[in-house]
Amino acid sequence: MEDLKDIIKECASGNIRAQEKLYRLFAPKMFGVCLRYAKDRHEAEDNLQEGFIKVFTNIGSFRYEGSFEGWIRRIMINVALGKFRKHDVITAVEDIGKYETTGSADGIFERLEAEELLELIRQLPPRYRMVFNLFVLEGMNHQEISEIMNISVGTSKSNLARARDILKRKVQDLYREVKSVN
């Protein structure tokens, strides 16, 4: 199998075949990432396209320090963040502790399929979706999230709490519906 390093080098020199190879290698994973950050599939496709164009345009600046997949993933997230900044106004209001947590939904999430979880995330309001993704799936802390989203740490925490609350409610509703059908 061709070394990833060679493919990256070929991509940097503008080799179209290498670019396609790289795309085929990473596109499914990155599309999964894009689907989590986008409000719908169409936006996810746009982000994937825009992200890969940035990858190929800037691949020459990749220094082989750290994971290449991480580098691409970061580009995809940045595209999503950029779009979020452009379209969704970030309110600077401190809203920590504003939302009451709802009842327990323990055990339900484990029983859901990936696609169902994705759908739940996509239904979150944009800012909550961003914070939830960054915290839960990218493993960032609130300090980091506050910096890249230009919000306070408190807001980040509040948004995360609110996102979890919404997800729990939704999953409880879903569970209730399933139970009533059965």
Binding site: Q19, Y23, K29, F31, E45, F52, I53, T101, F109, V136
Partner: protein
């Protein structure tokens, strides 16, 4: 509650962290297309940069060239004047600055290519201005001029004496040696040496004798023709118009004298004409067409000869052998005629006849005005090889090649006259604009009943390189 959140996060992480989803195929196509556009943009940026760089280089080279020309021109005057004047000023001489410098480039005429002869140590070579002033102050204007002329002659004699060149045919190299060995001051000696070297170098630079380039011209072509009576009686008399075409080629010129040059090369030219609506035979179709004003409808209605399994018609350039009946055309019998040409072809549209020539010119050019924009007259003959011979009908079925003209001579001769304006863009590159008239000296059709001589006019634009 904390555990519940942790479990929830864990469930999302486990199922979505490595989640794969196949993107639609069109995304790669879009990415590829976008990257292609980016590559083109980058290429265009490079081309733009290269073009800008080329323009800058040309501008710099032109600037350097023209500044060098200016330096060359001023070298013998301004620099030498100031230096020698300073030298002599210190020696206390009063010298008319007009008399200081005697410069000539005319080495070929036997004159000495020297700029400066002034020297404080060689006072005898110069005339003391204070004494001259006394003389001229008491003289009439004419007498004053005579005295000044005498003084100038005396100065020249002094210079001649100083160089004491007995042999007028002495070589430049010899002169250089002699000038350097003459006991002038160091500044003067340097000037003299530099000047001789410079003049020598300029002389050694060969004037460009050759010029080559490409030219192109939009043109208008038509013909003059006469026909035998028999031929003419069966010929289609119609309203003929000239044809527009593009002519161009490669030109090579050799400068044979100061004003004369010879030109040859190879060029492509097209001569043709069109024939518009005019009926020859008044059959039912043509007659109905004839009722319609010509500007509203074009049709072609010649008499044709159907014999020996071929169709032919008499055109102004000769007999055209039709390959086939054109699409959209109708054939009817002309009951008024009983000879060979008793059939009539009728089609709407326009008939045209075109001849392509490959011409090898031999021109003589004479330079009338030698200036920034040179003006030349030119004239000569072309050997024209017929490389294309076609006839067309253009109707609702498109432009159809219907056949070719019979008896066209493969080799013909034409004459050309023109007036050329040439503008020197740089030392070696020039742009030319040249209106020309070209007329075929012989009938290009060898049929004795047909005398067909095409002509064309055009304004040639050319880019030339001298070497």
């Amino acid at each position: 509650m904390m555990n519940e959140e942790l479990n929830m996060d864990k469930a999302f992480r486990e199922k979505l962290e490595n989640y794969l989803a196949k993107p639609p195929d069109h995304i790669w196509n879009s990415i590829n297309g976008q990257l292609g556009l980016n590559r083109k943009k980058i290429q265009m940026t490079w081309y733009s940069l290269a073009a800008t760089a080329a323009v800058l280089v040309i501008a710099l080279a032109a600037g350097w060239y023209f500044s060098r020309v200016l330096e060359d021109d001023t070298f013998k005057t301004a620099d030498t004047k100031s230096e020698s004047f300073n030298e002599r000023s210190t020696a206390g001489d009063i010298i008319n600055s007009d008399d200081e410098i005697i410069a000539t480039d005319d080495v070929s005429a036997g004159a000495v290519p020297v700029t400066q002869f002034a020297s404080a140590e060689n006072e005898s070579y110069f005339i003391n201005k204070t004494e001259d002033q006394k003389l001229t102050d008491n003289l009439q204007p004419d007498e004053g001029i005579a005295v000044l002329a005498q003084q100038s002659m005396q100065l020249i004699d002094n210079i001649k004496a100083a160089f004491s060149f007995s042999d007028e045919n002495i070589t430049l190299a010899d002169r250089k040696e002699q000038v350097i060995s003459y006991p002038f001051e160091s500044v003067d000696k340097n000037l003299v040496t530099e000047n001789v070297i410079l003049t020598g170098r300029n002389l050694s630079e060969k004037e460009p004798n050759w010029k080559m380039g490409l030219n192109i011209s939009p043109g208008y072509s038509s013909y003059s023709a006469s026909h035998g009576e028999n031929y003419a009686s069966n010929m289609t008399y119609s309203d003929h118009h000239g044809n527009s075409s593009v002519t161009g080629g490669f030109s090579l010129q050799y400068k044979a004298g100061k004003r004369w040059s010879i030109e040859s090369g190879v060029s492509y030219a097209q001569n043709g004409h069109k024939s518009e609506s005019a009926p020859q035979s008044f059959d039912v179709y043509a007659e109905s067409d004839n009722l319609v004003p010509a500007t509203e409808r074009l049709y072609f209605n010649p008499e044709v000869d159907i014999a020996d399994n071929r169709i032919s018609m008499n055109s102004v350039a000769g007999i055209i052998d039709l390959k086939t009946v054109p699409q959209g055309a109708e054939m009817t019998a002309n009951l008024e005629k009983a000879d060979n040409y008793s059939t009539v072809l009728l089609t709407s549209g326009e008939f045209s006849q075109v001849f392509d020539f490959l011409e090898i010119p031999l021109y003589l050019r004479y330079l009338l005005i030698d200036s920034r924009i040179d003006v030349e007259v030119m004239g000569g003959v072309n050997t024209g090889f017929v490389v294309g011979n076609k006839a067309y009908i253009k109707n609702e079925y498109g432009e159809q090649n219907i056949g070719k003209t019979r008896d066209i001579s493969p080799l013909n001769f034409s004459g050309t006259l023109g007036l050329g304006l040439t503008y020197a863009i740089s030392k070696n590159i020039s742009l030319a604009l040249e209106p020309r008239v070209n007329y075929y000296l012989n009938s290009i059709n060898s049929n004795p009943d047909v005398d067909f001589r095409p002509y064309r006019v055009g304004v040639y634009t050319g880019l030339y390189y001298e070497f």
